[in-house]
Structure formats: C-alpha cells, structure tokens
Amino acid sequence: MRQTIKKLFFSLLVFISIGFILAPILNIFFTLTVKELIKTIHDQEVWHAIFTSFLGASLATMLGCVLGVPLAYILSHYEFKGKHILEAITNLPVVIPHVAVGIALLSFFNERTFLGKFFAYFHITFVDTIYGIVIAMAFVSISFVVSSALIGFKGIDKHLEMVSRSLGASAFYTFWHITFPLALPAIFRGAILAFARGLSEVGALLILAYYPKTAPIIMYERFTEYGLNAAKPIAALVIFFSLLIFFILLYFSKYHAKR
C-alpha cells in the first residue's frame, strides 16, 4: 500500500514537472489555426527574421567556441593565481540582466569608442547590424560553452595525455587527437545550449541590434502591435525549427558519445 502511494506521488510529481514544460509548448500548436499559419508561412519578413536568428545564433556559437574552448582548456589544465576568479567571470553573462547586457555592449562597441572605431575601420559596425546580433548572442551564451567544455576537459583522465606524450606525440598532437575528441561531446552539448540561448535572446538585441529583426524581436513586435494571435504562428514556427535542430544535434552528440 505504502509503495503504491509512493509510486503515485512520484508519478504525479513527474507529470506536473513535465507538464509544466510541455503543456505551454503543445498549447501553441494545438490552438493554432490553419489560416493563421498559412498567412505566416507566406510572410517574407517572418522568414527573414527566422533566418537572421539562426544565422546569428550559429555565428555566435562559433564565436563562443573559438573564444571559450581554448579558455576552458587553459582553466582545466593549468594552475595559476586567480584561476577561480577567471572561472567566476566566465559565468557573469548568465547573471547580468540582458537589457543591461545590451546597454553595456552598446556603450562599449558604439562607433564613438576606441573598439567601435577600430572595427568601423574594417567596415564592421555593431549597432543595428548582424555583427551586433552575433556579439550580443555570443555574449549571453558563451558561459554555456565555457562551463561545458570545462567539464569535458576536466573529465579526461590525465594519464591518457601522459601516455600519448610518452608514445611520441607532441602536446599539440595530443590535444587534437586525444584531449579534444574526448571533450568534444561535452563541448557539443555546451554549443547546443549556447545556440539555443542565442536564438532566444531579446533583451540585449532590443538595445544593440533591433535591426535586422530576429524571430524573437518580430514576435515581440507583432505581439505589442497586433496581439497574441499575430505572434503565435511565428512562435510555432520558431519552436518547430528550434526543436528540429535541437534533436538533430542531440542525435549526433549521442552518436559520438556512444563510440
């Protein structure tokens, strides 16, 4: 009897928690009318925004990996003073409100600052451009790459690297053939999270790069101008594509991990 009550209680807990995540998502699809969906599918501005979002999130994830993976390797392999402070700094983007991130990035990268002028020399500006979108998305998502890569690198048995070196491999060869492939599933998981985080960014983009419009921006715009029903089909499309990419990436990550 006691076991049955326990089972029922646990089942209820699982049902409520999973329902809390799944119900609002499913609700969007179930309450969508075909007419609204077709109208949205024919809306070029929506497709443009979705494309901009995915392009921005992809480039931001790449930038996050280029900057974050080497940092995670250094933090996991070397002991030095202030290492823990650096680790804490990599988590800052998660705790700063994203509108504040937008304001910070705008005041740092606008064309009146040294860095803004430097990039402007190469015809790269950040206010209301795809570069701004990438910078904002990379800033808010880099923590995911660093922390996942850090877990990946720390989880590798140091003896593997030792054996590799003693078998005649240089430190560089060892990194590319032992350390990096073994940390790759963790880096990949971090990249998936970073991609998802970048895709969902609104706050920083509202301040730094409202244009070209991303999917969340256009959803927000349609919602404030025309109401819930106008925003819902765009949300459905974005959720559909996000889930599709998420499951494809997850499949490849699991496939790699199985080996």
């Binding site: 054996v163 003693s166 491999a169 053939h177």
Partner: protein, 242 residues
Amino acid sequence: MLSASLFKKYPAFDLDVSFEIPKQSYNVILGPSGAGKSLTLKLIAGFEKADRASIILENREISSLPPEKRHVVYLPQNLGIFPHLTVYENIIYSFKARYVSIDEAYVRVIIEELGLTPLVSRFPSHLSGGELQRVALARALAAKPKLLLLDEPLSSLDFHLKMYLVNFLTKLKQTFHLTVVHVSHDPIEAIKLAENLFILEKGKIKFQGNLEDFFKDPPSGFGKDVMKRLRSIKAVLDRNVW
C-alpha cells in the same frame, strides 16, 4: 643502460634516488603506497619536473627533453587506453604521433604475438581487463621504446589474470628484448619478474640488487615486511594441502 639520479622535494618527503639498470633487464621497484614509486617513473618519463636530475638512457642525457623525445613509454595503472580509438588505432598511435610510416610487418608480429588479431577493429569499451592489458602492451611495444615504465599495471587484477600476465610479461621481455622498470607493491609480482630488485621507502632506495642478495640480507622496514609475507605464503604452500 639507464643511469638515473633524481631529487625532488615533496611535502611528505624528499625523493632522492640514484640507480643504474642494464639494457634488456627487468627491474622491479617494490615499495609501500606513498613511497615515491610512481613519482620516480613520472620523473623518468618527464611528467614531473625534478629539482635536480640526471637521466642517461643509452648514452643520451634525456632529463631536459620533453616526454615525447625521451623514447620512454609510460604505462599507468589504468593503462591509458584511448577509448575513442579502435584496438588497431591504439596500437599504431605512436607511428602516427611521430609522423612516420607504419611498420606493418612489425605491427602484425606484435598483434599476433599478443593474440589480438580478432580484436583489432573493436573499441576498448568492448574488451575484458586482460585484453585491455594486452592492447596496452602491444601499443607500448609498437613504439619500440628504449625503456618501458610499468606503473603498477597488474594491481587491480584478480589472481588468475595477474599470474597469466606475469608469465606473459616474462615471455614478452625475452621476445622483444625490452628494458623494463616495473613498479609494484606486490612481492609475488616482484619475485616472479625481477632480475633486479629495488626497495623504495619514503623516497629513498633501501635496497638494490638481485633476488638472492635480497633473500640473504633483506633491508629493515618494508623489506622485512616483504620477507614476512613471503614466509607466510611459503608456510601455506609447505602444508601441501592441495
């Protein structure tokens, strides 16, 4: 021949050892946990930096060289098999790492000698403990090391597998003319394998010589413990209960 003189300060003790071992000999460093056995191997392999070191391997001073240039292969207790590579890829790793062409004939001899032919395309996660040991040895042999360092390679195995591998190592040493330094805390392993025995305690060598000398005059401390353990095993065997 290896001639090593190593000194390094550690919080618990100072490691201060000097020894010479002849070419193509099987040497066992025996000592209790925390005696500095693994540290000695890591210093020779180049994974720890000594405060003072002179390591001459076959007339070449190697103490200032990076690990990959020493021609010393280190095999840790957990074997360090690369889990993302197949058995064959593990075995030929040293050729690829040094950007030299694979000596297929030699690799084939090793694979056959170690009975790994049916396993070459498998991943390590699909191998038993004994098979993994053989893969690790095959990979080490493929690198044609001037010195092979074995860091308690048999300590986590059951008695049967341990005895099988002890015999296997003896045969391997003869076939491939290896110079081996094998670290262990198990006297049985030492007696079965050692041509030269070293007793290491708190970072100092308390005994070095052959087994006859050791039995004649065992050193105090861990040396006496070893003798006590061996005597108790002998006593059991003398009862002839089997």
